[in-house]
């Protein structure tokens, strides 16, 4: 499988995007979007002892997610089976749909992949990726002079 770098500025298509790029404005704000987003956005934060990852994928339940460590990669995917709860109707505008996606991230050697934990809250999947003991940033300490 090929790994391509995810470019957050280049993953959008559609005519409005061309206008936005050309005029440097958000036409989408006025008229709505002419395409549907299926890839959730991700924030990554680094702390002294861990990385935290936030994946904005509203409309799922925690059972829909699959988080796997594949060699050096963290693979986050979701697949929601279309259930009967789905309302019968017709979409007049469809700007987002996060029912099925997959994103992968390279894990540096310094993280402890066995201890990754997560929770799903208000449409965001939070993952906690702890660093290995030796990689944690230590607070400065003084050395005694004999």
């Amino acid at each position: 499988m090929n790994v391509t770098k995810y470019d957050s500025n280049n993953n959008e298509r559609g005519v409005t995007n061309l206008f936005d790029a050309f005029f440097n404005r958000n036409l989408t704000d006025f008229w709505g979007s002419d395409y549907s987003i299926t890839q959730p956005s991700v924030n990554i934060f680094e702390q002294d002892d861990r990385y935290s990852i936030e994946i904005a994928a509203p409309g799922l339940t925690k059972e829909d997610f699959k988080v796997e460590v594949d060699n050096d990669y963290l693979v986050i995917s979701a697949a929601k089976e279309n259930t009967n709860e789905e309302k019968q109707g017709k979409y007049m505008r469809h700007e987002f749909n996060y029912q099925s996606f997959s994103r992968r991230f390279y894990l540096p050697d310094t993280v402890d992949a066995d201890k990754i934990e997560g929770k799903y809250d208000n449409g965001i999947l939070f993952l906690n990726v702890p660093k290995k003991e030796e990689a944690k940033t230590k607070s400065p300490f003084s050395v005694k002079i004999k």
């Binding site: 709505g32 409309g59 109707g89």
Partner: protein, 127 residues
């Protein structure tokens, strides 16, 4: 402009790249036509129901959100912002504005707008 999404990060020049990023944080909306109602679905990840306000003025629907927590600023990758937003919609005549209901579930705000029965739509006769 109807709504603003996120303020630019302080002390950084605004580049076209950042404007693109800001747009990514826009509140995306699905509009679903049901048998006798419209349903709006707004993607509001991270928002709980107490952080969102919905108002109906005549036949306009105003939705606003204000995060109650401050986001950490140590991001090494940032593709979305949970920021203040305002969004408004013009409601069609056939919507029964008195009976609009909403619920916020798993980061999606569902707004249900029932339709008036055919004979109750306000019509004006031309004399």
């Amino acid at each position: 402009m109807m709504y603003t999404i996120a303020r630019p990060v302080k002390n950084r020049p605004i580049t076209s790249q950042m404007i693109n990023r800001r747009r990514q944080a826009a509140i995306r909306t699905n509009v679903l036509k049901l048998e006798n109602a419209y349903e709006l679905q707004l993607s509001v990840p991270g928002f709980s129901k107490n952080e969102i306000e919905i108002e109906v003025k005549e036949n306009q629907l105003f939705i606003s959100g204000k995060p109650s927590d401050v986001q950490e600023n140590t991001a090494i990758r940032k593709e979305f912002v949970k920021g203040e937003f305002q969004k408004s919609f013009q409601l069609p005549n056939e919507v029964d504005v008195e009976n609009i209901t909403a619920e916020c579930n798993a980061g999606i705000l569902h707004i249900n707008m029932p339709l008036l029965p055919e004979n109750k739509i306000r019509k004006v006769n031309i004399q």
